[in-house]
Amino acid sequence: MRISIKSIETSGLRCVDSKIDFTDRREKTPVNLVQAPNGTAKTTIIDLIIGVLSKSAKKWTKSEIKEFRKKKVTPLPSTGFFKLELGIQKFESDEPSSLILQLDFDFENNTIHDTSYDDSGYKNFWSYPPEMLPYLDDTCVGLFIFKGDKTDEILTRGSGDAVTPVKSYFGLSSLEQLEKDIKKSFRDKLNIRGHDTVEAKENKNTKHLKIWEARKDELDNLLKLYEKQKLELDTELKAIEKDHEEELRKHHLIDEQKKIKSNLDLNAADISKKTNEIMTLLRDPFSFSEDINDNFVSLKNTLDDHELPGTSRSFFDRWLSNSDKCFCGEHLSESKKIHFKDTISSYLTDDDISIVESIKNEAVENQIAPQKKALDKLFDELNDLFNEKKLFEIEQKKLEAKLASIAGAETKEIIQRHKDLQAKITTNDSNIQRLTFFDKDLSKFSLDRPEACLSYNICEAIVDQLYEVQSELEGFSKLARGRSTLLWVLQRTLTDSLKSIQKELVESSNEKLGKFTNGAIEVINIDKNLQIGTNGHEQAQGSGAQNALSIYAFTTSILERAQVHFPLIVDHPVTALDGLARISLGEKISDISHQFIGFLIDTEREEFLPTLEKSGDLHYISLFRNSSITEPFRDDLNQEEIDTFDGESKDFGFVSYRKEFFHKHRMGTLK
């Protein structure tokens, strides 16, 4: 299924009243470029599209709704609307059908109302095609509508998250929810009975279940609180970091700061990689225990001395059916045959023999030396990395001291607030980490003392186990067996499918990046964030251009793979790119989506616009408010464009779709 935006229309809202038509590849060209003066409220238009497509508008608070009201007109409008017309093409050969999703604002009560209209008629709610439903959430919509800097959202180590959009887009988040629902349904089923059988009442498990359930709810509330705080603190940090960065820039320390940050990020990646290598080696006991190896070699020698494991069951089976002579050379009598047949099951199978043989082959005298050496070397390297980390941290502190020494009181306050906030975030993060910590070994927790358990995840697993026991107790053992098998299948499906999707997305992103950058950058992995690098080696982040291209490659790979294809909508599509990257992206943009809507600013025109024009037709959209300041633009409109003016509106916008108009007028700096 392919979704395109055919048009948007607004009235009474803080963006200029207007109707804009878009095209897609099927109709004319996939590339729509919108230019509008500052203050025309492009961001509002993007927010409205997100609000309708993700259904998040339904969660807007009264004060958020109020913010959409047009401000600078008298009288203030009491109502407003946003109309989003989608073109929906189910199959390649189908004619697209139209779906209008409307959001009506009542500014007297600050409420909204949703309606929709399609071939089947008018509906008093947003009615989407069922195929679209899985994609209608903030995470999925955030993937094809680029608002703000995606680098932090997807690429940056620590804060970036490329896995959540992948899970959300391919339905894995939804299956994770199913896992919770299955557990809940099972628990509800048992709780309906109230554990009132005699066996249950008298059993300790019932008591444990009650106190652990209470503890789980307590930890769940705590976790929700810290997660909420995390969102608030992150937003606050972003704002302060902006101020902090501004101060560094003002005192010409920004490059130094970027270098230190990049070194610290790289160092963190190396430490994590080295630790994993060490953990892998530590799982092999031969790498650190000489005794195990010596005993193993001695076992091998003993087996060899006795010519073991010898011959397999199938050998004796064949021998008994094909031969009439015994090993000793005598006749193979019936009684001997019966004796062999009775004892044959005690012989090893072919597989068992090959396992023992392969274990024997692994046992090599003095094999400990190279592995132990490798482990020692890794520990030395890890030590060096920690020393390096200390040096970078000293550099960071020196830089902060330098900034504090030359800065004024206001800057010092920003630095202090930045430090305080980082400390708060560290504490909050460690609380979340504690609550989400998981250890498979649940036996270490005393069932009489749930208060000793500080992790929600562990608590949840213990409650789950207690419910399993409870089900046995109350005669639900078959239900429990069915449930645990289904949960195992679900968890295995989640793990395996995520791995396979990630692998395919890495391959597909790299195929695109190969075309965009001639292999200068590649996606190495999708671990929490999108990891990029060169020649298989990860780097903290690439240049602005490399980051942006990696994100384009990753995002479009996801969009192409999904069953429903959405348009790609980007605010400031090439701000972060240098000249060459703009040219490179300009050449490819018409291929990466069936519909691309870019909200362009003046500084992005260079290199990008000429290359786009060389690669095919464009749909030019110039939008501006009807005011005295835009008179030069209005004077240049043709009659047809002027006729679209709605005389009743207090804040109407003109739209021109002409190429020459777009080229002639640069609009970015107008207020």
């Binding site: 199913l178 098998t485 396979s500």
Partner: protein, 61 residues
């Protein structure tokens, strides 16, 4: 539903020795959940049917 989910599901069912009928019932449940059309009221009856099929398979194995 993405093909990798179906592939992983079939592999997991096979590993547990579940029959094709059981696997199809689980696939239908997953499909409904992923497509956002699984009503909470339907969940319990679907789960009961799946538990019955799983137990039948496990008893037969």
């Amino acid at each position: 539903m993405d093909s990798s989910i179906i592939k992983a599901l079939k592999k997991a069912c096979e590993h547990e020795g579940l029959s094709q009928e059981t696997c199809s019932a689980i696939e239908d449940l997953f499909e409904r959940q992923v497509s956002n059309v699984l009503e909470q009221s339907d969940l319990n009856s679907k789960l009961d049917a799946i538990y019955y099929l799983i137990n039948k398979d496990l008893d037969e194995n």
